[in-house]
């Protein structure tokens, strides 16, 4: 089978697809690409559907050898990528000949880069998804981050003739919006005065953040009540307030139940921005309405549809 050999693993590289919905009643989180926008764009550029598995690269990337000629795409955080001395550009299809060693280095202006390979990765689906569930220890590559020596099977059986590394001359503007200082829109939770204080930012992303949640540092908030709460279901996007007053924004690997007060909920359209925040980055919150949240998501979908059309047109042209 065609495959990709992992010569170095990078900081935290996992296989992710569109996620694993429908199993939270068994304690199984959704997993899936944190920045679903960049994941889907990379897939489209590589000629895949949105749900093919990509590599989610965190802060620092792996070194990969492709044993077959293929086409790849890199989207999300700008990453140092090279084959020998040649720099590999972002957000466009890049043909690689068989035997190519792709060296991925540091991520810049974002925390996560998505690498899509034509045809996707052929790891088995578990509970309907190829995504790595790091807490449950299943999915993706044996339920864990990539390790040196891993061999990732590719779904594509096609053998193409690629003589040399070739990057397309076109690329796409890949940002879901143009906000350099991210403002995350939230739907209010149960305590209005805490919301006011939450929106009275700025906040800084703590180094202890991970795929489960973004831990924030700033002026500590006062929880509305000190009483112990009974654990109840939570979802990605939920903003929890532990007793230390430092909010946690839950992400795709969120546990299914939580006992902290739920003070707000980050809207879906802003999840890609949350996924790209690095430790030390600043962010602020702004309150919005459910109607505004729906509108923001619809605008983002329209933007994606336009990009997808453009990609399709370009691919047909070459």
């Amino acid at each position: 089978m065609n495959s990709v050999h992992v010569l170095a693993a990078g900081l935290l590289t996992t296989l992710q697809d569109a996620g694993r919905p429908g199993w939270r009643h068994l304690g199984v989180g959704s997993a899936g690409a944190l920045d679903a926008w960049s994941h889907a764009l990379a897939n489209r550029i590589a000629g895949n559907t949105d749900d093919a598995a990509t590599l989610e690269i965190t802060l620092s990337g792996p070194v990969l050898r492709f044993d077959v000629a293929t086409c790849i795409a890199l989207c999300g955080a700008r990453i140092d990528a090279r084959v020998d001395a040649q720099a590999i550009p972002m957000a466009r299809p890049v043909d690689l000949p068989a035997g190519t060693v792709l060296e991925l280095g540091a991520c810049h202006e974002g925390a996560r880069t998505y690498l899509a390979v034509e045809g996707g990765f052929a790891v088995p689906e578990i509970l309907g998804s190829k995504s790595t569930d790091l807490r449950g220890g299943f999915g993706g590559m044996r339920g864990r981050a990539l390790a040196m020596g891993d061999v990732l099977p590719l779904a594509s059986r096609a053998t193409r003739a690629v003589a040399a590394v070739h990057a397309a001359s076109w690329w796409i503007e890949q940002a879901p919006d143009d906000d350099p200082f991210p403002t995350i829109r939230i739907l209010p939770g149960e305590a209005p005065d805490v919301i006011e204080a939450l929106c009275d930012g700025p906040w800084r992303v703590d180094a202890a953040s991970n795929r489960q949640g973004l831990r924030l540092q700033g002026h500590a908030l006062t929880p509305d009540t000190a009483r112990e709460r009974i654990s109840e279901p939570v979802f990605p996007g939920t903003v929890q307030l532990p007793p230390d007053g430092r909010p946690i924004v839950l992400l795709a690997d969120a546990q299914t139940h939580g006992g902290y007060p739920r003070i707000a909920h980050a809207i879906r359209a802003d999840w890609p921005k949350l996924a790209q925040l690095r430790p030390g980055d600043s962010l602020s919150f702004r309150s919005c309405t459910p109607a505004a949240a729906r509108r923001a998501l619809e605008l983002q979908r329209q933007r994606f549809a336009r990009l997808a059309l453009a990609i399709e047109g370009r691919s047909r042209a070459c």
């Binding site: 919905p21 429908g22 199993w23 939270r24 009643h25 068994l26 304690g27 199984v28 578990i126 509970l127 569930d133 807490r135 449950g136 220890g137 299943f138 999915g139 739907l187 149960e190 709460r229 009974i230 654990s231 109840e232 279901p233 939570v234 979802f235 996007g237 939920t238 546990q255 299914t256 139940h257 739920r262 909920h265 980050a266 809207i267 879906r268 459910p290 109607a291 949240a293 729906r294 998501l297």
Partner: protein, 240 residues
């Protein structure tokens, strides 16, 4: 009618949380599972997740499967029109599930401390734990981790001050007034009193979980030989 028993709150853009009276009470939890069963029996296509908690039930909605622009309102209306009433709903009857447990020794390092805390002998503590019929209040914390309600009050004990970094798969623990089973090796702060050889959760199985939310569970004491005998198939599988 129905909102007498629970309050509906939005949980972000595409989920609702039905909150019952916020008490850790087996009777309330039973209503949660009765309501879940009633909803499940008429499950609409847009219902992506139906997640029970101790005293709450979350409905995750796929907005793309709802024609109306406001998916949450649509779900609220559906609940109201369905006139779901947890007092009328009857639960799906699941058989009582028996969990074999080897108590104490290397399998239950905290059994002696727990017995001392309860003022019992280790033997009495085992007998009391195995005498109970428990309800799976919910699966959470980790895939397939059952939170069991119905622990003998005399066996309640606070969690460890410092959680262990490694608890073996199958470990049966007590955390406060609850008991539970760690499906997978990992960190944990509950008092470990025994271990089951059963694989409680395996995502590769057609039905990954052995026990379902709402199901009743009983512990059956076994000795180390029986543990080894029952664990053998699992060990063989994992070596393959």
């Amino acid at each position: 009618m129905n909102e007498r028993e629970w309050r509906v709150e939005p949980l972000g853009e595409d989920a609702l949380l039905l909150r019952f009276e916020q008490r850790l009470d087996p009777a309330i939890n039973q209503r949660v599972h009765a309501l879940a069963a009633a909803i499940e029996s008429r499950r609409p296509a847009w219902l992506r997740e139906l997640v029970p908690g101790f005293a709450s039930l979350a409905l995750g909605i796929d907005p793309n499967a709802v024609a109306a622009p406001d998916a949450l309102q649509h779900a609220r209306d559906w609940l109201r029109q369905g006139a779901f009433d947890a007092h009328e709903a009857t639960e799906a009857t699941l058989p009582l599930f028996e969990v074999p447990v080897c108590y104490g020794g290397e399998y239950g390092p905290d059994l002696e401390a727990l017995a001392a805390h309860a003022g019992l002998s280790a033997h009495e503590a085992i007998a009391r734990h195995a005498a109970g019929v428990y309800r799976v209040a919910m699966l959470g914390f980790a895939p397939g981790f059952p939170y069991l309600l119905g622990l003998d009050r005399g066996l309640a004990m606070p969690r460890l001050d410092t959680p262990r970094t490694r608890v073996a798969a199958g470990s049966v623990g007590i955390g406060g007034a609850q008991t539970g089973i760690y499906p997978r090796q990992g960190p944990g702060g509950w008092r470990i009193i025994g271990r089951t050889p059963l694989t409680l959760f395996d995502p590769a199985r057609a039905t990954p979980n052995l026990v379902a939310p709402g199901q009743q569970v009983r512990f059956v004491p076994i000795d180390a030989d029986e543990f080894a005998r029952l664990a053998a198939p699992r060990a063989r599988r994992s070596r393959r």
